[in-house]
């Protein structure tokens, strides 16, 4: 899975969860401040990403830094994809 696919997967999952089209988001878009994710939607997002990428995430081990932006979340997923390979 390359970087653009990871970002596309995240954006698609976010659209499903927040029930909005995100045509103008970038890797710099902030998840909490700009897209208004909350604790509930974060958990739902993780479940969707586990389902679509095959990674396994331990929510309790995540850091706020992983969830700053779409880009930092993509970094986290790419790091975990590497581990599973």
């Amino acid at each position: 899975m390359d970087r653009s696919s990871v970002v596309k997967t995240i954006t698609g999952a976010l659209s499903d969860i927040m029930q909005r089209e995100y045509s103008d988001v970038t890797e710099e878009t902030r998840l909490f401040e700009d897209l208004h994710l909350d604790s509930t939607s974060v958990l739902t997002l993780l479940m969707a990403l586990e389902d679509q990428t095959g990674i396994e995430v331990d929510p309790e081990s995540l850091q706020m830094e992983n969830f700053q932006t779409i880009g930092t979340l993509a970094d986290y997923i790419e790091g975990n994809l590497d581990v599973s390979v």
Binding site: L37, D38, S39, T40, L43, T44, L46, D51, D58, L62
Partner: protein, 449 residues
Amino acid sequence: MTTDYLRGIKKALTGSEDTPLVLVCNFEAEALWAKGHVGLPAVPFSGSTRLVRRMEELGVLLAGPDDFLVLSEALDPGFRRYAEELGFALPTVLVPENVDPSRSTAEDALDSPVLLEALRSTAGVLLPMGTTVLEQKLAEATGLPLAVPGAEVFERVNSKIYGRRVAVSAGLRPVPGFECETVAEFLAVLDEVEPLVEQGERVVVKDAYGVSGKGLVVLDGKVKASGLRKLVTRRAARSGDDRLHVVVERWLPKRFDLNYQFTVGRDGAVVFDFVKQALTADGVHKGHLVPAELEPRHHDELRHAASVIGERLHADGFSGVAGVDAILGLDGVLHPLLEINARLNMSTYQGGVTERLLPDGSACLAKHYTLRLAARTPFDAVRAALGPLLDDRDGERVVITCAGTVNANAADDAPFEGRLYAVLVAPDRARLAGLDAATETALTTLESR
């Protein structure tokens, strides 16, 4: 002047309607009660902690001039002026000398000897939103008695598991569902509900201790049901801890949600305070509407439920203000106990405002507006943006109830999220909707582009 509403609370909880109160509005209480219980897997951070803490300023318009309010920041002078011009006589605001943004106000207070000394000399009675170990320590450190029971009682009666069990045992038409205390129980319940979810039913899983928007997952598809099963199973395997404190309930088709409040006196007397229509989205609280569109039989049923729940709470050691969430189904059938919030509620803090500024027969909407701000925004700028909407114009006005949340996240990178809490008053719902839209539009002038 102290409102009749607050005098009633003082009388029920302290025996005298003139007792000076020391208010600590610890809106983060649920998070402390949750410690020691295992909820749904969750990320260890939240975007709203500081906002929730700064909701403490809602206490300003509840407390009277003989009372004291502990806040982590001094009141914005513009908001003080505004509230006084509305006719409110404000409490004495006490600010801890040692404030750390990562701590709660009670923690700040416990670390502030000057403030502790000032509290000792108030000779007041401590009224937290709900008692946690921190407010209990504050009572001990200051020698002030608590107006309500200790943390252990609050923790016990605020569990959603407790609420469901009261509904079942008292025959208060519980929403179809389950209480779970172990992973094994939860997985067995998932086995039962997963086929329903796959057929399109919605099922909600809620932490025993979760405030709105947290610790709640709506199962509305196979991915979420199987995803949650995996997360819970993996965590239990990793930690070796088989506990899981959640309730699982069918998501009933509804006309609307309700919230009603009553006060349980120290002597066990239960006084019904009010009922409001609650605005929610996916289980997240968005505001209240008054009057609720209920029939007389619904009012009777709610009063009966309040009396039964209040009696049960008192038997279990509780006295104080309690709010209960209820639901009116699409079929017109009331489910009078979804969950008990045995603590001061949002509506409690608005009690003084509605008594003073809500004319009989008017409609009222309590809500917050989310702002995206480029820089710290003084209250006078908010006041200027809303302009004439804040004035009484033919029975229609906006009343700001909490300004402290506007700049709660000002230390974050811009634009940051702020909240403005308000009560809107109008002669009818149509004009209320117009006023809400006008407020929304007026506030956009404050926002960063």
